[in-house]
Symmetry: C2
Subunit: 401 residues, 2 copies
């Protein structure tokens, strides 16, 4: 009847073994966040003895997760402390992104540096999943070869998709802008050590949380590619929702009697602020990859484009008024394509929020990661999984994996 | 630099003392949930030795939190086990509610039974906080006298208000239907052991979570008195928001160009589904306490009232479509006055949700607690604080308080 009070991710009960795994993770996270540093510094930081830390560090060095940079301050009394750093040659995370008009793959090492990148511009709208994933796999292979050359071992693959992914699965339940339905990507993707599939807005928000500066623990991350998505972070954790479908800001009704939407509703935000709607309002051909064009024309002062972006900002402001009233976040972060259009969206967006909310309006920040967020979030999700459970990395020299 | 890995609510580090306090709480919660039961049953349930449990139980009996019901199964070998029950005479929680047209106070014992109740119908709209709280205090005093007569000790007072309460304070930042602004209730309320002030929708949602049957851990609780509020529960925890203002469903824009709202916005849900709006649409005098009248007239088949409720349901459906898209809850619970009007609201509300959401629509449940939710939630919040930290109850016979 009695469940163990603590369980590690792998379900191991609260034993010596479990404690060792957690301590390995604490060592890794400490050095990743604030390293390079000596064993003594790690010990004082995490409150273990220097001997205990040395055992853990030796294990992590053997596993290729840490490396010694050589003796530091050799003049000091006692055994010279050697600065420890997270390995730039050990396991690495591969992130991939299926966009409506592009595919991209990148490789991030444990230090958080992007070590390889491959991408391809291709219209994926209405394409069957198989050829799309075949193209993506070719890019993954390029990046894996590059990893080999750099002495890095891919520890997993995480894929960002512009659609709803059922919680704890690799099944894309619905991706209207790709026209995919109930597509299990597991059999189509290369079998690296660890494979996850997630919504692009979720991974964009995690990138913000992990890589952003001064990002608070409670925020709503709004992103756009062709559609508009959002992700809600509460107390530093992603709010996924019962089925994994939380964050569908694009289908919040803005003008409930407005134009019909692919989701079955009417007057959803996407009908006013989605890329196609904005291009149409701007008098441009609703082709693909036109965000750059919108930004260019707006910058040159094109009145119709500016009006279209103004109106999109108004619609975003209405939908975000509801969101802010429901969630009371510390801020809203605009990411993805929206970050490039921010100068022309923000005035009307902020105006609506201020007009419609009592008291000070919720601050709006622009993501410094922009359209790179989901791809970086994907690669970093693999890196963080390694830091969270270094013993779980498939490597003979780490025990207990 | 090193923070203790576990801290109790009172901030005690992870020491023997902290562990004892947590174990006292585990014993209380186990017996409160599944008692009466023997010491041996408690021991096997929480995985401590019978001796350890006996020490904890003796302490809880001395503090008046547990009582022995006398020997059970005396024929068995060894010392006869005595059934333990949560005390029906120990500490109790006092809940109070400031409504727009009523005041109510109740007393709930550790067993969860309502032991006393006092209420008064009075129009509080536009009344200053002082006389309202003076009236409420008179009711609290009645209930405290009743507690005395029953041998119960009030362990705290929690007050539900129809407005926004700043997180971790007793300050009502804004209660538009009372016309209160930045009102700190601390100096006005009687000083019982523990005093908290919270939004009525939050306390209604907690009542649902604690007292409801088969309530999932992820839901949105929508309640109404004069205004419309909501509370969001995620993983069994209330999402409070940065400032404590989450759940303002009443001010989600439904028709953004609609009538102006007291919040500063236009076309908020409250303008279509708030009590006043519905009474007006039904051709009734927008006086107070008219929910009963609406339900009566709707039941007799009054066409204008039914149309008004149908339209309110439609507006609720539009606002909840946005909510469900953002949060993906397991269900939506209608509480407060809405639960009495559900038969006439639900068809159009469900219709909107189904029409506007792809896939199966989010289920809607009706709160069995109805308008009692916030008051019960308030009283139970005090009871749960006692169960969570029995050693913290002001009582000389419990050490370590």
């Amino acid at each position: 009847m009695t469940a163990p009070l603590h369980e590690t991710r792998a379900g191991t009960p609260d034993t010596q073994q479990g404690m060792r795994r957690r301590n390995l993770s604490r060592v890794m996270h400490t050095i990743a966040a604030d390293g390079p540093m000596s064993r003594a510094a790690v010990a004082s930081r995490i409150g273990l003895t220097r001997a205990a830390v040395s055992t853990l560090v030796d294990e992590l060095i053997r596993a290729g997760l840490l490396e010694e940079l050589g003796p530091e301050r050799p003049g000091r009394v006692g055994r010279p402390g050697s600065a420890l750093a997270v390995s730039g040659r050990g396991p690495a995370g591969i992130g991939a992104e299926v966009g409506v008009d592009h595919l991209a793959v990148c490789l991030v090492d444990l230090r958080g540096e992007v070590r390889a990148r491959a991408e391809r511009h291709v219209s994926n709208r209405g394409r069957a999943p198989d050829p799309v994933i075949a193209d993506l796999t070719a890019l993954v292979e390029q990046v894996v070869e590059q990893a080999d050359r750099e002495g890095l071992r891919p520890a997993g693959l995480a894929v960002a998709v512009p659609g709803l992914v059922a919680r704890d699965t690799r099944t894309v339940v619905r991706a209207p802008n790709l026209d995919w339905h109930d597509t299990d990507l597991s059999p189509l993707l290369p079998s690296l050590h660890r494979l996850t599939v997630d919504n692009e807005a979720n991974l964009g928000a995690l990138a913000e949380l992990w890589l952003g500066e001064q990002v608070p623990g409670d925020f709503v991350h709004v992103s756009a590619e062709i559609g508009i998505g959002a992700a809600v972070v509460v107390d530093g954790r992603l709010l996924r929702g019962t089925r994994g479908f939380a964050g569908e800001l694009g289908h919040v009704p803005v003008h409930p009697d407005g134009p019909p939407c692919a989701c079955g509703g009417r007057g959803c935000l996407e009908q006013f602020a989605g890329e196609e709607a904005v291009l149409r309002a701007a008098g441009l051909d609703p082709g693909e990859g036109r965000v750059g064009l919108l930004a260019e024309l707006a910058a040159t002062g094109d009145a119709q484009v500016r009006q279209a972006l103004h109106d999109a900002g108004t619609a975003l402001g209405i939908a975000l008024t509801g969101t802010v009233n429901l969630l009371d976040p510390q801020c809203v972060v605009l990411g993805g394509a929206l970050s490039h259009l921010a100068p022309w969206l923000l005035p009307s967006l902020r105006g609506e929020l201020e007009r419609r909310t009592a008291g000070p309006a919720c601050p709006i920040a622009i993501s410094p990661l922009g359209s790179e967020g989901p791809l970086l979030g994907a690669a970093h999700s693999v890196v963080r999984a390694v830091l969270d459970d270094p013993a779980g990395v498939a490597n003979g020299s780490v025990n207990g994996a």
